[in-house]
């Protein structure tokens, strides 16, 4: 009899952990918030240590202008008072991600900057991370994982003692941790949308970010000849709602808000342009032809085919290196030169593409010019092998 009661209690507890209802208005703002409870102070002290690792990381991009730009977007979205509590760290990692620590340290990966098309897109990502901070999601997630794993431990021990098979309860408990996390992400998305609604940017830009990611994933799958997948429902172990789900509910809510504003597309690329060559070079090295082609085409949709994009596209084709690709690459390198972009990367790439297509003499001329510009380049010795009499 007590076994039945035990499982009923268990079922109730398994169903219990859900995130508190979504706040209707912006949460009240507390200046210079300091944690007080043992749990929160512990998490903050751990985060403080991690933040030092960010500060000392060799991946940190500490360019003043770029940091000031990202900060300006955050502040104009969530307000100057609120953004005071946040430190932003831009990390040199060529993938789409951003994260928030409980103490107000926000990390932005460089690959994220390449996957957005406007200040409004960036604002939506920054506001989402800020929402995690404002709603103290690290603490909530920690408490949820703790109480759920406590329950899991008791389930195992008591189940053994009573010789009851508790595996189904164990599985639902584990699932509830991931579900809780998805709920927090959704809550972050929706609060971010409220910030966007009050900002100069249109909230509809939030949904766009996820649309771009899905399109890129499709292009990548097509390039790699693998099946693309679109899912509404998150899987058991998913920590976030699916991109399709997010694109959908964010669009629905932003249409409800119906706010308008300037997404600032050109201004966005103007701000990140000094970093574009580096971001693009990193992207080309990811060996993702389809995805990279998609990104280049879409950025060009805003900026036009500026030389940086032409060069990146040339490098993309040259790195795949099929005979036909080398013809395309050669053309694109020449286009870049026509646009006045005769950089050492262009000379080197053009020279090598020509040499690989069997036009050694013409290739050698460009490589010679490359070596003249960079006599101490790290690959100078190997490039010299392609140049007649270059190995003096």
């Amino acid at each position: 009899m007590w076994l039945k009661r035990f499982s009923v209690v268990l079922a109730a507890l398994v169903a219990a952990p859900t995130v508190a209802a979504e706040p209707e208005t912006l949460p009240p703002y507390v200046p210079a918030y300091e944690p007080t409870t043992v749990d929160e102070r512990g998490l903050w002290s751990q985060a403080d240590e991690l933040e030092l690792l960010y500060k000392r990381s060799e991946h940190l991009i500490d360019d003043e202008e770029l940091n000031a730009f990202v900060r300006r977007i955050l502040c104009s979205t969530v307000g100057n008072d609120r953004c005071d509590g946040v430190r932003i760290y831009i990390l040199n990692i060529p993938a789409f991600n951003a994260s928030m620590m409980p103490n107000g340290a926000m990390a932005i990966w460089s690959g994220l900057l390449l996957r957005l098309r406007s200040e409004a897109n960036l604002a939506s990502v920054l506001a989402h991370e800020f929402a995690h901070f404002e709603l103290r999601h690290s603490l909530q997630g920690f408490k949820n994982r703790r109480s759920t794993s406590d329950l899991l431990a008791w389930t195992v021990v008591l189940g053994n003692a009573a010789v009851v098979d508790t595996r189904n309860s164990q599985i639902s408990l584990v699932g509830s941790i991931f579900r809780f996390n998805r709920d927090m992400e959704r809550q972050g998305d929706l609060l971010a949308l409220k910030y966007l609604r009050q900002s100069p940017y249109p909230s509809r830009a939030s949904s766009q970010v996820w649309q771009y990611l899905m399109e890129e994933a499709d292009a990548r799958a097509a390039g790699r000849k693998i099946r693309r997948k679109d899912r509404y429902r998150a899987g058991f172990f998913d920590t976030h709602p699916t991109s399709l789900d997010r694109a959908d509910y964010l669009l629905e809510k932003s249409m409800e808000y119906g706010d308008i504003g300037n997404a600032e597309q050109s201004a966005y690329f103007e701000a990140i342009r000094p970093w574009l060559p580096k971001l693009l070079a990193d992207q080309v090295r990811l060996n993702d032809f389809g995805g990279t082609e998609y990104l280049l085409g879409n950025i060009a949709g805003v900026t036009g085919w500026i030389p940086e994009l032409v060069l990146a596209r040339a490098e993309l084709f040259a790195s795949r290196g099929k005979p036909r690709d080398l013809i395309t690459a050669t053309t694109l390198y020449l286009d870049a030169i026509d646009k006045g972009h005769e950089t050492s990367e262009v000379l080197r790439g053009l020279g090598l593409s020509l040499v690989k297509s069997g036009r050694r003499k013409e290739g050698a001329e460009y490589l010679e010019r490359y070596l003249a510009q960079n006599p101490d380049a790290p690959d100078a010795a190997i490039i010299r092998m392609y140049v007649p009499n270059g190995d003096e």
């Binding site: 102070r41 008791w154 008591l158």
Partner: protein, 249 residues
Amino acid sequence: MFKIRSLWFILLFCYLAFASSDLSAQEKTGNKEGFELEPGSVRIALLEPSVRVGSQSTGGMFEPNADWTEQAKENLEAELARKQELLGNEIVRLSLDNVHQSRELVQYHALFGAVASSVIEYQFFPGNRLPTKKKSKAFEWSVGPDLADIEAVKGFDYVLLIRTKDAYGSTGRKLLQVAGFLGAVAGFGTAVQSGEHIGMAGLVDVKTGDLVWLNADLAMGGDVRKVEGAEKRVQQLLEGFPGSSDSED
């Protein structure tokens, strides 16, 4: 049918029970062959110790505790400072902040932790030795030769690194342990370990990066939150420290 299903649990708990009994047979100290230290012959840099203290939740999660960590840092540092004269050689404490190349030093601290964990797993636990460590019992571990390039440790012969992590079993964890034990009366018992007390102290040769002496244990004694406990912990960490006056016994 039911019995077969629970076989999985029985196996798991047998494993847990054996695993914990093997811990006692584990070695705790390693010395590079032929390494000796004459008192008063070298200079040693003591890197700021890495200290983490918290509790262990019922489910076994680490719960960081800011106050305990602060307290333990203070206690351990004070005790280390007091102990320095007994160690036989000149020891200078290096703080991880505000020194040139502190980023690299922090990385070496973490690398030392990873190497020491490997030593515990693959050398100190004889049943789990790597194939290359089975035949020769030589203690050959290193953090790599580039340590010598770091400005802050120039002029030192050795670096002493200390790391501790303590998770004190919460009341819930202790209750769970008792329940797991009593479970055997009605059905199956469950082995639950309460608390985790990891400590490692190692001496690294600055010129070669070789680990010349290591003291590491997953079950250290001494409550680092208290002054007397920290005294006991430092005593255990530095037991048999090369060149110290008590290294003979």
